[in-house]
Symmetry: C2
Subunit: 112 residues, 2 copies
């Protein structure tokens, strides 16, 4: 599916994916793909910069490790990241309720 629509929601997905344990970037992509039955297949050029943003913002902490000669950058939620995730979840609930109502419902009153 088109991830263009993700604008503003990607960070929350990444944080949620890191909630139950540290992961490296590639694993995040796979986890999201598996979690959504393949419907959400993010390109690396989307995920890596996003993780860097989150790290710069102090929401995750990244650490280098080397596994069998292959370097990996593993990310872990910080306390701030946990709080941000809660906020993102609340934002999402409100957002989906609002858009759902306006898009699916028929509450638009008659004009003029």
């Amino acid at each position: 599916m088109r991830a263009e629509s993700l604008k503003g929601h990607l960070d929350g997905l990444l944080l949620a994916c890191l909630e139950d344990g540290p992961r490296h970037g590639y694993a995040v992509i796979e986890a999201l793909r598996d979690a959504t039955g393949g419907q959400l297949d993010l390109p690396t050029g989307t995920v890596y910069p996003a993780l860097h943003r989150l790290e710069a913002g102090g929401l995750v902490r990244g650490r280098w490790s080397v596994v069998t000669g292959r370097r990996r950058r593993t990310y872990q939620l910080t306390a701030k990241g946990h709080r941000a995730l809660s906020g993102k979840r609340a934002d999402w609930r409100q957002f989906s309720a609002v858009v759902g109502a306006a898009l699916e419902g028929r509450p638009c009153p008659d004009p003029t």
Copy 2:
């Protein structure tokens, strides 16, 4: 609420708002505000360019009229616009299901 998150969903909202009859831009803003209990209050600088985009894409048709000296541009869904709205609704259902699952659920499998 922050309309930044609307990226990619605004067009659908505008089309849905025009579904039950023609409206002019200002009325679209008011209708969306009323429909969402004031939670979605779009600035004119967001709505007018968006309506122009939709018109350029042939999804709505705009016509000038003058009411008591005040000019209004009234927009009406085209057949193409109706089809686009159906597509947008389907996109939204899939999108909200995917994001909801990844954000709220716990289907992220264990890595490594």
